[in-house]
């Protein structure tokens, strides 16, 4: 007599964890790229306080419109200096239109790297059930 025991539930749970692990790893690549881009600050670098780089964060994976997603953003929202500089603004002090893009290029230029990080982390989770070690630059 043989007994069949389904591992489907286990596989499904591990697949979900693999997706989230992949998202976290991918997001960390973008966080790292943005932090690198923000070093030196805006314009002259006189306003570098570390606050800006420390504000770059990613959320936990979440379900949005039926898909697992993760968000990368800044905790500086009021006033939204990173937004001002990313999209450009009429600067009251310089009297000029000022812009320094960091976030968009970081995402575009590191999309392949983020995809690769996703693949590595999710594969590791599927195969071993263990998440990747922290990939943040602070962990180096």
């Amino acid at each position: 007599v043989s007994t069949y025991r389904s591992n489907l539930r286990l596989v499904a749970a591990r697949t979900e964890r693999a997706t989230d692990a992949g998202l976290r790893a991918a997001a960390q690549q973008i966080v790292n790229a943005v932090v690198r881009g923000l070093r030196g600050g805006y314009k002259s670098g006189r306003f570098v306080t570390g606050l800006n780089t420390a504000s770059v964060v990613s959320t936990d994976p979440m379900t949005r419109f039926g898909e697992r997603v993760i968000l990368v953003g800044t905790s500086i929202a009021d006033p939204a200096y990173p937004l001002y500089w990313e999209v450009g603004h009429n600067n009251r002090w310089t009297g000029r239109f000022e812009r320094k893009e960091v976030w968009g290029p970081a995402l575009r230029d590191n999309a392949d790297r983020a995809r690769a990080a996703y693949a590595r982390a999710s594969k590791r989770m599927v195969e071993t059930g263990i998440a990747m070690p922290d990939q943040s630059e602070a962990a180096d």
Binding site: P79, Y84, V87, G88, H89, N90
Partner: protein, 153 residues
């Protein structure tokens, strides 16, 4: 030819935006924008309202023998003071109409296939709080003549 160079592509897009006549008989952007449509970055002393356009994230592939580019056209619209926020939205409405399913096909091609539009929150402190700003990103497919000339029919 409007797509013989990337600079010509910019000029074709700018001309489309400025000269498009809305179906309701309203004014063109050339008549409405005091500061016109700047390419890349607006001049520091541009009178409001004005727009600035820039192509970004341009990507080619081996599709169509390497002559097909996808790109994002970022359009940034500005007005001042803040009480003109509604007027600015109307100006961007006209731009949206101009770009809507636009397909330029006279020598190479430029086609608009999608868009995303954001009205930015009011700025303050370092940024002039009286300026209102709308950002639109149009997804374009560009087949520039300087690339299509190498493709077999």
């Amino acid at each position: 030819m409007a797509t013989s160079t990337m600079a010509a592509v910019y000029r074709a897009i700018r001309l489309r935006l400025l000269t498009f006549e809305p179906l309701d008989g309203g004014l063109t952007l050339a008549e409405r924008l005091s500061g016109g449509v700047a390419i890349l970055t607006p001049p520091d002393d541009a009178p409001m309202p004005y727009m600035a356009i820039r192509l970004q994230n341009m990507r080619g592939s081996l599709r169509e023998q390497g002559a097909r580019l996808t790109a994002e056209l970022e359009l940034m619209a500005f007005h001042r003071p803040r009480e003109n926020a509604d007027d600015l939205e109307v100006l961007v409405d006209v731009a949206d109409q101009a770009m809507r399913q636009w397909a330029y096909t006279s020598g190479g091609s430029i086609a608009c296939v999608a868009q995303r539009r954001d009205t930015l929150p009011p700025f303050r402190d370092d940024a002039d709080p009286e300026v209102v700003q709308v950002r639109v990103v149009y997804d374009l497919i560009i087949r520039p003549a300087f690339l299509t000339q190498y493709t077999a029919a």
